[in-house]
Amino acid sequence: MKVFLKKLFGFLMFSFVMYLAFIFLWGTFFDNRINKNMNFKIGSNGHLFSRLNEIKKYKNVDIVFVGSSHAYRSFDPRFFKEHGITTFNLGSSSQTPVQTKLLLNRYLNYLNPKLIVYEVYPPTFSSDGVESSLDLISNSDMNWDIIKMAIQTNHIKVYNTLAYSLVAKLFGLNNDFNENQKKGKDIYFSGGYVERDDTIKSTNYRFENTNWELNPTSLHIFEETISMLKFNSRNYILIQTPITKSLFDSHLNNKEIDNYFKRKGLYINFNREILLNDSTNFYDDHHMNKTGVAIFNKFFINKLHQLKLINTE
């Protein structure tokens, strides 16, 4: 029996090493579509690689944005600059509270913002966090926070991608990688903003009535982040950026959602504050296009001044 257990232990150690070798081979030579449970995508949608790479250029900014694609697609730093406001966007695709917490823990003290704008799109509170975790693993530096995030996400795709990322970094595989600033219809602007100048394909989106779902684990982590911000006396504001009216109105529990976030701090749901045109100000049912962003940003900056949340004098 002892011989068997010893041999089994030896095999498990051996296969662990071999596993990393196979992961490396698969990740390096095969397409992501073939790698069913691995998705290492350096320079993926959302330009997170560029964003995190240029963070060194930014320090002591006025505003830091966090949140999902709504964060990095809704705040154009050029409009803020016109008002003398410096910003940096830490948004990432489908960013859930797990990733928000990680990014704030990592960069908050360095960026040292006067205000944190936390974009809280309800679906990111019910997402499994896999997409956003993969984005971060593929495009950011590796540290214990990333490993902790992978464990929290607890998904085989995330573990495999993490394993590949570690081995790839060990061999310096992506050291020379440079991300293209223009990808398809997306253009990246310094400060973390991604612009899309496009209009909605279908003008008559119809959605069945439904409810936003917020999962308790995400809410728990979100509340931990809020507590951390409060503990560190950081100014923050929770917001929902505009989505198409048809999508917003199809959700029956918007009031409940608003009430929840209102209890967690200063909160503005811009779907109730500003009326955009579903067909000309959006490029899909929940992302603003260039013209939508321009209208929204002017409104948003005025709101910041009205609420005296930012002092640029």
């Binding site: 071999m18 596993y19 196979f22 073939i34 449970n37 998904h155």
Partner: protein, 481 residues
């Protein structure tokens, strides 16, 4: 609890360590541990259904004891009748009640009599068909005086509920498995290593082959009317590998797990897709069920004795009953009927026992004749699998119609996400072919090679399992039977 779950990955080592390190000094304690762990394993789905297993076990245990002291033929008949009635009665209520109610109601409606019977709203207990047949085999063997009844209740409960094969077989005979509970088990390094290899191969079949084929199959069969003949052909082909990978994978994990505990279970699959005729296929597919029907139904009906007509009748009876055993649906009955019809030419020409050895034994490649025979037999099974997989008979006939239409020549629907599947299937078929003379494909693969190569090969299988597994637990198909 599923074999392909984290729960089982935790459960198995705990039971293994308790079994060999804590309970190893006392046989009864080891058997008791098997009973408790088997009940935990089963109760993981729904603990309420444990009462059915315990009830079934106790009925047959006490009927067995009674049979041992009763010599009066009429009383013995009454006892075995009671065992059959109770066991099959339970199976009937849970599995077939709604089927009969629906069909009676439809039959009456043909005569203009409208019935609105109450259907039962019950869940089919997992594995009920398997353990019912296993416990029945004990009562029948005791009745036939082919084995002595047991006085050891713990051993008997362990025999009925033995967790590796409880929910989807192999359906063990009491004469093979029960005596193993009386004997002291000694840990055997070679057997345990062999068991682990078999578990690994079973997991590969289930997780890599069956579950990935299932993804495509589900897309095609859930909307078969909108797919071309070529897509339906690929869907059917993949289903053949899905059902084989799923079920034989389960059997491999079960047999391998039993080896870890010092038990030997019967072989359930012997490379059926390399069969050269349908009779050989049925000697290699779900062996434990085929032999069960042979011993407890076919032979009592007269078997292959008597005239040709009675042989044909008996063959049809066992295939149709076997189909019905799989599920309360006409599709399964037609599946059984079709297999009996395939069998018929061999039976009439008395060629049903020609191919007893594995194809191309001792050779690397089959002869052209063998290859054509294998391909033909496989094609026959494909047609039958359509009935097995289809939701209803109309869908099955529509699919077959489409397969024989011009749309078979059109480009099939095959999204890029499945592009790796043909390669995985190729690896699988090659390994199965290479290992076809063993109990399972990788039993002796690389055994003569250096440890490094062997372990690299097994590590590669583990890698493929993790890389291509589903992210959600997927139950085994045969759990529904």
């Amino acid at each position: 609890m599923l074999f392909n779950s984290i729960d089982f990955a935790v459960f198995l080592p705990i039971v293994f360590l308790l079994y060999w390190f804590v309970a190893n000094k006392n046989l009864r304690l080891q058997n008791f541990l098997i009973v408790v762990s088997s009940y935990i394993f089963y109760g993981w789905w729904d603990w309420r259904f444990l009462s059915l297993i315990i009830f079934s076990s106790l009925i047959d245990f006490f009927i067995g004891k009674k049979l041992s002291i009763c010599e009066k033929p009429s009383s013995r008949k009454f006892l075995i009748g009671a065992s059959l009635a109770l066991n099959l009665g339970l199976l009937g209520v849970f599995k077939y009640f709604n089927f009969f109610i629906d069909n009676f109601s439809q039959a009456f409606s043909l005569f203009g009599i409208a019935l609105n019977p109450n259907r039962l709203s019950i869940v089919l207990p997992v594995g009920i068909s398997f353990y019912t047949f296993q416990t029945l085999s004990y009562s029948i063997d005791v009745y036939r005086k082919k084995m002595e009844p047991t006085n050891d209740l713990i051993s008997f409960l362990a025999f009925v509920s033995f967790f590796p094969q409880l929910v989807a077989g192999p359906i063990e005979r009491a004469s093979n498995l029960l005596p193993q509970f009386y004997r002291k088990r000694i840990f055997n390094n070679k057997d345990a290593s062999n068991g682990l290899r078999q578990i690994l191969w079973g997991l590969f079949k289930k997780v890599v082959i069956a579950d990935n084929c299932a993804e495509y199959v589900n897309i095609i069969f859930s909307n078969s009317s909108s797919h071309s003949g070529s897509s339906l052909l690929i869907g059917t082909l993949f289903f053949a590998f899905q059902i084989y990978g799923d079920f034989s994978g389960y059997s491999d994990i079960a047999i391998g797990t039993a080896k870890l505990f010092g038990f030997r279970l019967m072989k359930n699959f012997a490379f059926p897709y390399f069969s050269r005729d349908i009779a050989e296929f049925w000697r290699r597919w779900h062996i434990s069920l085929s032999t069960w029907f042979r011993d407890y139904l076919y032979i009592p009906l007269g078997g292959s004795k008597g005239n040709l007509l009675s042989k044909i009748r008996n063959t049809f009876i066992i295939f149709i009953v076997s189909g019905f055993w799989h599920g309360a649906n006409w599709t399964f009955i037609i599946w059984g009927f079709l297999n009996a019809a395939y069998f018929l030419p061999l039976l009439i020409s008395n060629k049903n026992r020609v191919n007893l050895d594995i194809a191309a034994k001792g050779k690397f490649l089959p002869s052209i004749k063998e290859f054509i025979q294998i391909l033909f037999t496989f094609s026959l099974t494909l047609i039958a699998w359509i009935f097995f997989r289809a939701e209803n008979t109309q869908q099955a006939f529509a699919i077959i119609g489409e397969l024989f239409s011009y749309s078979i020549l059109s480009a099939p629907y095959f999204p890029k996400q499945f592009s790796v599947l043909p390669y995985l299937l190729l690896i699988f078929i090659v390994l199965e072919w290479i290992g076809r003379e063993n109990n399972f494909a990788i039993e002796k693969v690389y055994l003569s090679c250096k440890l490094f190569y062997r372990w690299t090969f097994f590590s590669f299988l583990i890698f493929l399992i993790v890389m291509y597994m589903q992210t959600k637990e997927t139950p085994f198909i045969y759990f529904q039977f």
